[in-house]
Symmetry: none
Subunit: 219 residues, 4 copies
Amino acid sequence: MNVAANKKGGHPRDPQLTNRRSEQILAAASSIFAAVGYRQTDVQVIADSLEVGKGTIYRYFSSKEKLFLASVDRGMRQLQERIREATEAVEDPLDQIAAGIRAYLEFFDQHGEMIELLIQERAEFKDRKKPTYFEYKESNIERWRGLYDKLVEQGRLRAVPVDRMLDVISDTLYGAVFTDVFAGRQKSFEVQAEDIVDIVFRGILKESERGERHLGDDA
Amino acid sequence: MNVAANKKGGHPRDPQLTNRRSEQILAAASSIFAAVGYRQTDVQVIADSLEVGKGTIYRYFSSKEKLFLASVDRGMRQLQERIREATEAVEDPLDQIAAGIRAYLEFFDQHGEMIELLIQERAEFKDRKKPTYFEYKESNIERWRGLYDKLVEQGRLRAVPVDRMLDVISDTLYGAVFTDVFAGRQKSFEVQAEDIVDIVFRGILKESERGERHLGDDA
Amino acid sequence: MNVAANKKGGHPRDPQLTNRRSEQILAAASSIFAAVGYRQTDVQVIADSLEVGKGTIYRYFSSKEKLFLASVDRGMRQLQERIREATEAVEDPLDQIAAGIRAYLEFFDQHGEMIELLIQERAEFKDRKKPTYFEYKESNIERWRGLYDKLVEQGRLRAVPVDRMLDVISDTLYGAVFTDVFAGRQKSFEVQAEDIVDIVFRGILKESERGERHLGDDA
Amino acid sequence: MNVAANKKGGHPRDPQLTNRRSEQILAAASSIFAAVGYRQTDVQVIADSLEVGKGTIYRYFSSKEKLFLASVDRGMRQLQERIREATEAVEDPLDQIAAGIRAYLEFFDQHGEMIELLIQERAEFKDRKKPTYFEYKESNIERWRGLYDKLVEQGRLRAVPVDRMLDVISDTLYGAVFTDVFAGRQKSFEVQAEDIVDIVFRGILKESERGERHLGDDA
DNA sequence: CATGAATGAGTATTCATTCAT
DNA sequence: TATGAATGAATACTCATTCAT
């Protein structure tokens, strides 16, 4: 009643309600899109799962495509948020890196459906849209680059271009979560995080082999 | 020419021709499936690009799905073959690993369409089929595991479980080729191979930091 | 008008309308299926004849096959109803038989399309479905058998197994309506009914020949 | 070798062989068309069952339709022949009628597939062709009409128009064989023939009821 | 004569989107 | 606002027929 007063009669518009509805729709849509794929998903099924009419979905999202892309976007925002939470309180920069890796793996462990959505997005909209994942990645990378730069300056990381490190780490993580889902890898995300940090931090070579080796050297 | 005589008269069956036709169809199909996606691909378009009738495609592959999966399989066989060629002549095992990484990246650099096919396969057939990529990966991994085992024994690789190394390396490569295509990364495959080998072999930490650090340590 | 209120807002569901629509669709479908045959019928043509979209047809009947079979069933229900109406008020059992024969012939005279549908059903669905005609026939035959039994008891019909009479009469009627349509017989249904009743009631032999003759007798 | 001499080289044309081939094709086609239906029959399947190439079928019958119609025609010729054989030696005209009825039922008992072909013909070619069955029927009816005329003259059959008798009898037979096949009636053809002859010859009424009754009389 | 590779016309069904109620 | 009835575009696959060998 004491919501924003409305001069005449009719429904008061409640933006809270609208947002809650949108959020419910996105949650339902995410899990259905992930479960059966974008093309195979009938908007009617999403409506049914929410016990609303199909038209109602269209009141909130003007097309199936918009609904799907909003679902992906919501997931990426959640990932970003989770990583921020997991790293902002960590003191030591190296630990921050490790914590970020762990949070990343944990998120996809808990939200396997996001991997499906990323795949579906690429499969269906390859020509129409830069993958949302990479949009978010780019927008976040600067922060990490600063961190790495400082560590190199401090002599805690090797003096190689930081982009090289960033690329390898992000490729590894990206590959890891896809492989987890597609090949059904069983390792817990905690162990997986430790393993990745170990290799990425220290490499696979014994100290004695870490000399001047270059790709293709036979000496 | 002197093909096996037919029982009666008639049109001779030439298995050579059949194979050549199949191969042509797969090549055309691969590039079109990759370019526009599985669902968006009209089999008529593949037929047109070969200047044959649609029925001819169906003589060789009994469904669009079979044709697609055969295209993926052909690509994976080519990848396997390329890696074999690139590594079999290399003497030193560490160089063999490096050569394998390089060959992998080179293959996808030259066959970007295969990344698209792998995505499409997963997007369309997630419930019906184990991804072909991972089938091939599993069938090849043993050979690599043997190599790594020996290197650990010889004290050339660190004494960590080889599966940990194999996982991180294969995740990195998988992530790298996807990122290359999806985010339009520009690095040449040679440089990328060197960068990955460098990090994976030596890690990112300065020697001084390579001590007992564990995930989440703050000491 | 005052249809049951919907839970929420929205488009009311009117079962009356739904039934009327179904009936209209079945009527249109019957005549088109009969006119051009099941296979040759494009569902679009049925939709066009009703000035609705093709999707609308599929809202009411989930497949062309279902629509067709429902059309046949509707026809058989009408036949059953017509015969019931025509016979229930008739006093004398022999007249009831005659009235049934007449009603049967009249129905197919007025609904020649039903013959076509019965043919189409058998031609297209021979392995999937017992012909609807014979399902209805079986479900109605008991009533007639009772009538004949009583007439034999009363000494008004000859003392031969009633199934023999029922078979011959039903074969004759079935054969008659098919022949009418397929060979374009011109006789009016009234005359045809009288002719059939005459022969079936009295036979073709002169009294003098009605003795002990058996099939193949030469005496 | 001493077949019609052929001036130069090349194959001598052997009309015997040609006829035998045609006959084999028709036999195979009849049973396949009957088993799966005209539309569902793939000409390739007929070719396979004969172990010849598909093109060979087309050398003998220029289209699937021609092949089908020739199959029907062959069947009707066989029926005609069978009835002729069964009746020509019979002395007494009434016995001739009975023998014809019996032969008709026997033929379809042994050639159930012909019923299917007649159905298929009507279903597929209703607008293009008078049913072959009725063409044959018309061409044979005169002979029977003569027989009946004479029997009426001789006072052995009742003095009703012979066409009335012919119609009822042919309708009954036609209905009987269809019902046998479609409803799976079990009666042997011999018994069925006796039953039909009994009713058609003598009618169902007791003598006392055979008076002046007309359709719909209630007196 | 016989063959079978090649062809391409023809069609049922789904489902995103609209809009009257 | 919410609904769901109506719509029609879009698409894989079959198989009769042809004709080079």
